[in-house]
Structures are given as structure tokens and as C-alpha cells.
């Protein structure tokens, strides 16, 4: 049986990297999917990326070995990349190319969607303003995550970003609407050790039932990596806006994604921008990150938690840099804190949540939340500054006041940041904040309203009750 819309051609003329140059069959459109029939039983997928009157340029998803102009057939499908969607996709594991890899039958599709999506009309967007309790003080207290936000974790190689992500995934759904919470996980170019870690932690936490996993391993085709996040986000959009679920999308590792894009771009002989990355890296990343949000009149939401490794710990590298320009803030991990044994090692000064103000305050978290966060930032920034000075001139050179800030920086790291894997409620996070600020006199707490100081600041001589 043969689909009348499908045509096969033996017309490959040249092969360069992952690109095939074929004669252009009539009717083929930009973006169409193709199947490459290498020889008996060996099929690969590809996509038409450029067309002129004589030629079609095809990007192969997979290896190009054994593809030959002499005997390989190209089958043009006359449609772009699509994925089958169904409520039964929950609990399933897919390859980075969108094929199930958990030895279970493919669920019957209730919808088939184009993976590239289309931009949400800004007028349709609803303001993200629902607080998500991640259980992590440095996030909940200082860089609050809200539903519909995209907040990446900037990590360095060797730092526990995956552990932090697991902690957030475990907590983000434990609220009133647990029933409606889903996780979509996309692993791009991750090692099988990392993939195992995530799969295991999904099973252990029981989250696996309301999760969909897409896994492209480090030795899987590079070009598939470019589609992995798009499969994941199309799935997330279906779960959120068709089924009304609150979806947390974890994308790791975006640096691998950027490198895959660079690899393909150089095979296409495009003019490179910074550090060899293509000039359209920003636009391409935006096509992924902008698929987070809420839509007016619809119940669900998509919250994105991309993870990326900063090569050489450099935050100005194009991958974190362009990401930071698109996402609504960033959580930055720090090697120094990790070395001190602090978990999670979140460096709060360069971390930021742009949508924080909309998710906190009276009726959401607590009235004093904004000011407490500002005050902690100010005290800690000053403490870190004193630490730098002390490292040059020695602690003796500091005034008593400066030494107080210095001590604050240490206590803040040990008591506020360092919470281990135990999660904290926002009330607990705020309680610890006030306890730490209790060492300062009222005029030093310039960012706090007097009424909040009167209401929340613990008495200095008061012994803190142990345990809470």
C-alpha cells in the first residue's frame, strides 16, 4: 500500500556532513520531512531545509554512513515534522527523535501536531503570577519561580545541577493541584549515566506516572538533538493547553543543544557569529524558550527549567548569554560554594527572577517578602565586598561594622543557602531570613518598612526555639 502523497527518488547528487543535495522533485515544500532508504531495512529521517529550482538540500537526522548517491532512495513525505499526542503519553519514555523507547506500544494518537509550534499572540498571554514553592530558600525567598516562567539553571561542569533540578521537580507539584501537575523532561546530548540518574529519580519519587521523558544521549545523532526540545515542548503545549495541566519542562543540557546547532551550521557553510555559533542562535533559542507561559482563558501553564553548563565557567559564553537575554532570570551555581560543601550551591548575587514581584507579597506568599529579599541581598552583597577587602588587607583592617557584614555573609551561606536536600516551606525560609537579620539594628535595615520590622523581627535577647 502506498500513500499517493509519498514519492521516492534516487536523486542524491552530493553528501556533505549531515546534508544531502538532491535533485528537486516537483511539489516539495520547505520544511518537508523525508525518509532516506539507505538500503534494505535501513531507514533514516531527514528534512528539507533549502530549495532552489534544481536542488533540494536535506538535513539528515542521524548518521550519513552508507548513504550513497548510487543506491539510496529519498522518499518525500510532503509534510513537516510532527508528533502524535495523546493523554496516554504520560508515563512514557521517548527517544530524542520522538520514538517510544520503553518497549511499550505506541499510544493511539488523539492529535498530531507540528513540532515547530507558532508564536503565542502577546495579547493572549496571561500574566504569570502563581507562586511555585520549590522548597529551595535561595529560589523561593530570593528568586521566586512563578507558573509560566522560564528560569534556567546556569551550572558549571561538576556541579550538582541535576540534583537541584530533581529537588525542584519533586517539590513543584506538591501543592493543592497535584492531580493536574506534569513534568516533561528533555535530555539533549546527556550521558547514559545522567539519563539513568533522571529515570531512576523519576521512578523513586513516583513522578514517572505524570511525566513524559525525551532522551537524546551523547552518542545519539547530533541533528536529532535539534528536534528533542521541540518534541518535548509540543507535548507540553498539548498537556497544558489542551488537557489543562500545569507542566514543568526540564531541558538539559542546553549547551549541548547550542553545540549541535553550531555543528549543523558549519556543515551548511554558514557565516559564523560569535565563537563559531550561527548568527541566528538567539532567534533559534527564542523559538524554544518562548514556548513557556500561560494563555488567557486556559487552565494549564508551561514553566520551563532549562539547565545549561557554562563552558569554562564563563557566563558570557554565547549559550548562557543568549539564554539570559531570553529567559526571565537565571539561577547561577557556583564552584566556590560547592567546594565549601554548601548545597544547593546557588550564587545569589548574579541570580535573578524577573517575574518574582508578580508571584509574591500579600495573598501569595507574605507581605514582607519583597523587602526581606532586598534587605538580604543588600547585606550579603556588602558582606561579600568586605570579604574581598579582608582578603587583601586582613580582617584587622575592617571596622567593627564591616566585620559584622563579613560575619553575616558566612552565616547566610551556612544557614540560609546550605539546606541540604531537605525542602523548606516559604514560611520557614522567611523565618530564617528574619533570624539572620536580627543581628542588625533597625536603622541598618534600610530596605524594610518599620511596620514589618516591628511585626517580624525577633527580639535580640530572645532565644530561638530549636526546630520548627
Amino acid at each position: 500500500m502506498r500513500d499517493p502523497l509519498v514519492r521516492e527518488y534516487r536523486t542524491i547528487q552530493s553528501i556533505r556532513g549531515p546534508l544531502l543535495f538532491t535533485k528537486r522533485p516537483p511539489n516539495v515544500a520547505a520544511g518537508d520531512m523525508v525518509t532516506i532508504l539507505v538500503d534494505a531495512g535501513d531507514k533514516r529521517d531527514g528534512q528539507v531545509i533549502e530549495l532552489n529550482e534544481k536542488h533540494a538540500v536535506i538535513q539528515v537526522f542521524g548518521m550519513t554512513d552508507r548513504i550513497s548517491p548510487d543506491y539510496t532512495l529519498v522518499r518525500f513525505k510532503e509534510e513537516s515534522v510532527k508528533i502524535n499526542l495523546s493523554p496516554l503519553c504520560l508515563g512514557r519514555v521517548y527517544s530524542g527523535g520522538g520514538e517510544p523507547i520503553d518497549d511499550m506500544p505506541t499510544p493511539a494518537p488523539s492529535k498530531r501536531s507540528d513540532v515547530y509550534g507558532s508564536a503565542i499572540n502577546p495579547v493572549s498571554r496571561d500574566i504569570p503570577e502563581d507562586f511555585i514553592q520549590t522548597g529551595v530558600s535561595a529560589i523561593d525567598g530570593l528568586n521566586t519561580l512563578v507558573r509560566g516562567q522560564k528560569l534556567p539553571i546556569f551550572s558549571c561542569s561538576g556541579l550538582p545541577a541535576n540534583e537541584l533540578a530533581t529537588m525542584i521537580m519533586a517539590n513543584a507539584g506538591t501543592e493543592q493541584d497535584h492531580e493536574n501537575f506534569s513534568i516533561v523532561f528533555a535530555g539533549m546530548g546527556i550521558t547514559s549515566r545522567e539519563a539513568d540518574y533522571f529515570r531512576r529519580s523519576f521512578v523513586q519519587s513516583g513522578a514517572v506516572e505524570h511525566a513524559v521523558l525525551f532522551i537524546n544521549l551523547a552518542d545519539d545523532p547530533v541533528i536529532e538533538r535539534l528536534l528533542t526540545p521541540r518534541f518535548a515542548l509540543t507535548m507540553a503545549e498539548y498537556l497544558a493547553f489542551d488537557l489543562g495541566r500545569h507542566v514543568l519542562v526540564v531541558l538539559t543540557d542546553m549547551t549541548n543543544y547550542c553545540n549541535a546547532l553550531r555543528e549543523i551550521s558549519s556543515a551548511r557553510e554558514e557565516i559564523p557569529g560569535r565563537r563559531g555559533y550561527p548568527g541566528y542562535l538567539y532567534t533559534d533559542l527564542a523559538g524554544i524558550y518562548e514556548r513557556a507561559g500561560r494563555i488567557k482563558g486556559k487552565k494549564g501553564s508551561i514553566t520551563q527549567l532549562p539547565i545549561l553548563t557554562m563552558p569554562d565557567d564563563d557566563i558570557t559564553h554565547p549559550a548562557p548569554d543568549f539564554t539570559g537575554y531570553i529567559t526571565e532570570g537565571q539561577i547561577v551555581l557556583d564552584r566556590g560554594l560547592n567546594r565549601k560543601g554548601i548545597f544547593p550551591p546557588i550564587e545569589v548575587l548574579p541570580s535573578l527572577s524577573r517575574l518574582m514581584d508578580q508571584g509574591i507579597g500579600e495573598g501569595r506568599t507574605r507581605e514582607d517578602h519583597r523587602q526581606v529579599a532586598d534587605q538580604l541581598y543588600m547585606l550579603y552583597a556588602r558582606g561579600v565586598e568586605q570579604r574581598r577587602i579582608a582578603s587583601i588587607i586582613g580582617e584587622e583592617g575592617l571596622t567593627d561594622m564591616d566585620r559584622k557584614y563579613l560575619e553575616f555573609a558566612d552565616t547566610f551561606e551556612n544557614e540560609y543557602l546550605n539546606q541540604g536536600t531537605e525542602s523548606r516551606s516559604i514560611t520557614e525560609t522567611l523565618r530564617i531570613s528574619w533570624k539572620l537579620m536580627g543581628d542588625f539594628s533597625d536603622p541598618e535595615l534600610i530596605r524594610l518598612d518599620k511596620e514589618y520590622i516591628a511585626k517580624y523581627k525577633p527580639e535580640r535577647q530572645d532565644n530561638e526555639p530549636s526546630g520548627d
Binding site: N52, D126, Y282, T316, M401
Partner: protein, 582 residues
């Protein structure tokens, strides 16, 4: 009937073969979905087209329709309070036809054709009209009166004038030669609308932000740029200026930025009201939203669409503020299209014409006598955000912008890390326009204002120098007098430069309040100096309740500020006296 057809497809660049009498900039419609594009290169009968929509699904041989027209925006009542995409498609009305996501093609009128506007004539039968003459008025929103002007290439004697409710396609004035003039007109976005004569820039555009208005003001009709790495607060600053600046009209161009941010801007401007009239601020605002995941070619067009609309309102005699966030995304769009055309790149892959295009854009700012009505003036002030990769100001877009701008607000990530907002770094920022505006300040505030600003800058420069010394040898090496300068710098930074964008009182600070607060700070510094001479200890004066009071002055509303200052004076006298006699 042209028989042109698609012959090559490469991302947003498409080639069409068989074009007839094609000209540069001609608008074409491609394929069955009629995607909009603009001709950017012609070789014989082969035209290269920049397509403003996603080209996936196009085929070789798809028909290309030539329109015979340049790319133009539609100008007329209905612009104000609306939100458009980069090629002026009305996003609110698209919602009704398309649902929540942006689709392709389709033809929708830029401005509502059905709505009736109450036209109130300003000419009489027998009057002579030419380009720019005002024909009548329409109350467009509660804040804006739209002036209907004679379009280009139209002049003559008025034969008939209508009055009452009409749509924008109905003729409201008919000339003796039979020409019917409607309330709408077209204008090519890449051509500046003419101005009669530029006038010099002698007054600031007040923004209500202390560090801007006092230290680095932007002139009405001038250009300010805001470069800053991510998280330095460019967008919040632009939003704040959009809300509080003393402009009649605000055009906010979201060029390749975040969708949630545009939604937020729209929401804030709709709910925020003008303190003097109680009307929604959206009533004086037009949003152009081409978010980062919308087609890249339309992003390139969006800043021209925005600035053309700005010029139209300038020609009505308004004080227009155009905010572009971000010009870097526009430059990247330019780079992407250039690379698809296989042009030889200049610095960092940007096309060599980047600098001249940026220059042409910024030159559309200015204050001018209006073409056709020389007795009136209008102005456009441009505030452009720049997003330098890695926060590195040496990159091409920042450098080109720096040469073109008269005011520079350099954002500093270090300040942002300390949550000091607006994170404008006072030691690198500048305002070249200050000298020309000194007279305005002296008349509005007082003769000594320039001297106060100079003194403040000196304190800040000295503070920076001293901080460096402290970092190396410790604070003990400083004399008390120097420590006093350090303290003065800290107070000004914390209590004057730092301004909350969300605090109900502090978010906007009037010029007169700015003057009073700055005077109070300088007076406090003098008082500390006096007390120090009379034997008070520097440590007792810093961190006292009095300095806390000083730091909180900005939180006092305009009508209680005098009282707060005199209270401060009394308390300080008491405290310092006790310190001196110890």
C-alpha cells in the same frame, strides 16, 4: 497580471523569477497563503524578497503577486491604545480571527474600517490646503486628540467639508478638483516624514527618575541609549520611562524581546492611570510587539513601523517618546538576512551597513517645526536599549550607538547584583545635552542647580577613588574628612540615585521634589562636616536614625516633603549637638 514564481527558498529570504517592472522595496504576496514580503535585490527578472512570515511549506513555483506599492503603514484614528506586530497587523483583532497563536498570511486591515469617528472640521469651504494642513479633529482616546492632516501630494481649495461620524475610508474633505480626503493615509516606513526645520534642543524630557533627570537628562527630541547585560534592568527602566515620562504620546517598540514582558507592559499600562486625569496610560500609548519568536524579517521592519507612527504624531504637534527594546535584536535580524543574501560581512558578522542604518534610524529623532505648519513644533525622543553580548560594551552595536546618542545610560551588572536600581553607572554615563539645557534648569529650579550637580558628581568621583584606596589599605588609613566623603557618597547612592520602580511614592519623583531632596543631602553633608570640625566622631554620625531619615526622604509624598526635611533638620541639630559636646 504578473507570472512571477518562487525559484529559491532559504529561511526568510526567497527568490522570485519572472518579475515585471519590479522595484526595490516593492511589497509582494507569496503563495496561496499570500505571505507578505518586500523586494530587497533585483537582478534582471530575478527578485530577492525578504519575507515577513515563516516560509516553511512554500514550494518552488508558488505564485508571487507584485503589489506595485512600497511597504507602508496605515496612519489614522485607531492607532492609539492598540497593539500591533512588526508589520502593523493588529494583534487584538487577529485574536478574534486566529485564536491564541500567530498564524501566517491572511489579509486584515491595519486599522478598523467599520468604526465611526466623530470628525470635527477645522477648515471651511474656500480654504487652501496643502501637505500638513490640519483638516479637522477626532477625539481618538480620552487623552489624545487626533489631528487629521492633508496627506502627501495633495493640495487645493476645499469644496466641501463634512462633520459628524465617519469611518476612516469615508472622504471628510473634498477639494475643488474632486479629490476626496479620508481620515487615513499611507506612509512608506523607510522614508522619514518631512520636517520643516530642526530646532535646537533646550529642554529635557522629564522622566521622574532622579539619576536621569538630575544627572544625565535626555533632551526632548534627543536620543538616549541604554546598554546593559542581561538582568541589568533595561526593560524595567524602559517600562518605567514609558509610564512616567512627560510625553504626550508613547510608542513602545518591543523588538525581538520576551512575550511575557510584552503582556506585562500591556497589562501595566492598561491598569495604570494618569495621576492628573485618571485615564489609562494605554490611552496615550501604542505598542509594537514583535517578540523574539516571531518572524525575524518582521523584527527588522518593526522599528521602522514604530518610528513612522511616531513621526505621524509628531506632525500633529505632539511630544512623542519612542522606546526601542532592543536595537541589538534588530541588528541581529539585519545580520541574519544579510547572511542569507550571502553578503560580505563586516565586524562580528554584522553587515557593513549596520552603522549607517542605525544612524538613519536615530536621526529620525529631533524637535522640529512641522512641515506645512511652521508656527508649530513637535518632537520625537528616542530611547534605545542595547543588549551587548556578554555585557561587553566594545561590541559593534553598542559602539555604533554610542557615536550617535547624545545621552548614555550605562547599566552596570555589579549594581544590579546589589539590587541597586536603576543600575545606571554614574561614572561611565553621560549627557552631552546638559549644557544646552542648563538655562531651562536654572529657570525651573534655581540658579545654583548646575553647581549642585557639579558638586554631587565631584563627591561621587571622590568616593569612587577613596573606595579603591580602602580596598587596598583598609579604612583606617583614611582621615575622618575622607571617611566623611565616603559616607556622603554612600548616602547619595543609596538615598538619591537608587529609586524603586514599584514603590507607590518613590517610583515617580517630580523635578521640584528632586531639587528639594538633593539640596537636603548636600545640606546634610555640610552639617556633618561642621559637626566633625567641632569634634563629633564620624562613626556616631553614620548609621544613625538621622541618616536613616535622610535615606527615606524619597518615600515622602510631594506635599509632605518640606515637612519631612524640616523635621530632619531639627533632629540632626539635636543629635550633632550632643555628639559635639561629648
Amino acid at each position: 497580471m504578473s507570472g512571477a514564481a518562487v525559484s529559491r527558498i532559504s529561511g526568510p529570504a526567497v527568490e522570485a523569477k519572472g518579475v515585471v517592472r519590479c522595484f526595490m522595496g516593492e511589497v509582494v504576496r507569496i503563495g496561496s497563503e499570500k505571505l507578505i514580503g518586500e523586494v530587497i535585490r533585483i537582478e534582471n527578472d530575478l527578485a530577492t524578497i525578504q519575507v515577513y512570515e515563516e516560509t516553511i511549506g512554500l514550494r518552488i513555483g508558488d505564485p508571487v503577486e507584485q503589489s506595485g506599492e512600497l511597504f507602508a503603514v496605515e496612519l489614522g484614528p485607531g492607532l492609539m491604545g492598540s497593539i500591533f506586530d512588526g508589520v502593523q497587523r493588529p494583534l487584538t483583532r487577529l485574536l478574534e480571527g486566529w485564536g491564541d497563536n500567530i498564524r501566517r498570511g491572511g489579509s486584515i486591515h491595519r486599522l478598523d474600517r467599520k468604526k465611526r469617528w466623530e470628525f470635527e472640521p477645522a477648515v471651511r469651504v474656500g480654504d487652501m490646503v496643502e501637505y500638513g494642513s490640519i483638516l479637522g479633529f477626532v477625539r481618538e482616546t480620552r487623552l489624545v486628540t487626533h489631528k487629521i492632516m492633508t496627506p502627501a501630494r495633495t493640495e487645493g481649495v476645499v469644496a466641501e467639508v463634512k462633520s459628524g461620524g465617519y469611518t476612516i475610508s469615508d472622504p471628510v474633505v473634498i477639494l475643488e478638483d474632486g479629490t476626496g480626503i479620508t481620515m487615513k493615509q499611507q506612509w512608506n516606513i523607510r522614508h522619514p516624514r518631512p520636517k520643516a526645520e530642526r530646532v535646537s534642543l533646550t529642554s529635557p524630557l522629564v522622566t521622574g527618575q532622579r539619576i536621569i533627570d538630575s544627572m544625565f537628562p535626555v533632551a526632548e527630541g534627543g536620543v538616549a541609549i541604554i546598554p546593559g547585560g542581561f538582568g541589568a534592568g533595561k526593560t524595567v527602566l524602559e517600562q518605567t520611562i514609558a509610564k512616567f515620562s512627560h510625553a504626550d504620546i508613547v510608542i513602545y517598540i518591543g523588538c525581538g524581546e520576551r512575550g511575557n514582558e510584552m503582556a506585562d507592559t500591556l497589562d501595566q499600562l492598561t491598569t495604570l492611570t494618569d495621576p492628573s486625569t485618571g485615564d489609562s496610560l494605554m490611552d496615550r500609548t501604542i505598542l509594537i510587539a514583535n517578540t523574539s519568536n516571531m518572524p525575524v524579517a518582521a523584527r527588522e521592519a518593526s522599528i521602522y513601523t514604530g518610528i513612522t507612527v511616531a513621526e505621524y504624531y509628531r506632525d500633529m504637534g505632539y511630544k512623542v517618546l519612542a522606546l526601542a527594546d532592543s536595537t541589538s535584536r534588530w541588528a541581529e535580524a539585519l545580520r541574519e538576512i544579510s547572511s542569507r543574501l550571502e553578503e560580505i560581512p563586516g565586524e562580528e558578522g554584522y553587515p557593513t551597513y549596520l552603522v549607517s542604518r542605525l544612524g538613519a534610524f536615530y536621526e529620525r529623532a529631533g524637535k522640529a517645526k512641522i512641515a506645512g505648519r511652521k508656527n508649530q513644533t513637535g518632537s520625537i525622543t528616542i530611547v534605545g536599549a542595547v543588549s551587548p553580548p556578554g555585557g561587553d560594551f566594545s561590541e559593534p552595536v553598542t559602539q555604533a550607538s554610542l557615536r550617535l546618542a547624545s545621552t548614555f545610560w550605562g547599566l552596570d551588572s555589579q549594581l544590579a547584583y546589589q539590587r541597586h536600581f536603576p543600575a545606571i553607572n554614574w561614572s561611565i554615563s553621560f549627557s552631552l545635552a546638559y549644557r544646552d539645557m542648563a538655562k531651562w534648569y536654572m529657570e525651573k529650579i534655581g540658579k545654583d542647580w548646575p553647581a549642585m550637580i557639579d558638586r554631587t558628581m565631584k563627591i561621587m568621583a571622590k568616593e569612587e577613588e577613596l573606595s579603591e584606596i580602602v580596598k587596598i589599605v583598609g579604612i583606617d588609613s583614611l582621615e575622618d574628612k575622607e571617611r566623611l566623603t565616603l559616607e556622603a557618597g554612600r548616602l547619595i547612592r543609596e538615598g538619591y540615585f537608587r529609586q524603586s520602580a514599584v514603590h507607590p511614592v518613590d517610583a515617580y519623583c517630580s523635578i521640584s521634589k528632586q531639587a528639594k531632596i538633593l539640596a537636603a543631602f548636600l545640606e546634610h553633608v555640610d552639617a556633618m562636616k561642621g559637626a566633625l570640625d567641632r569634634g563629633a566622631g564620624i562613626n556616631d554620625m553614620t548609621g544613625s536614625a538621622v541618616s536613616e531619615k535622610l535615606l527615606r526622604l524619597k518615600e515622602s509624598a510631594g506635599d509632605t516633603i518640606d515637612e519631612a526635611i524640616s523635621e530632619l533638620r531639627v533632629e540632626r541639630k539635636k543629635l550633632f549637638k550632643s555628639l559635639e559636646t561629648q
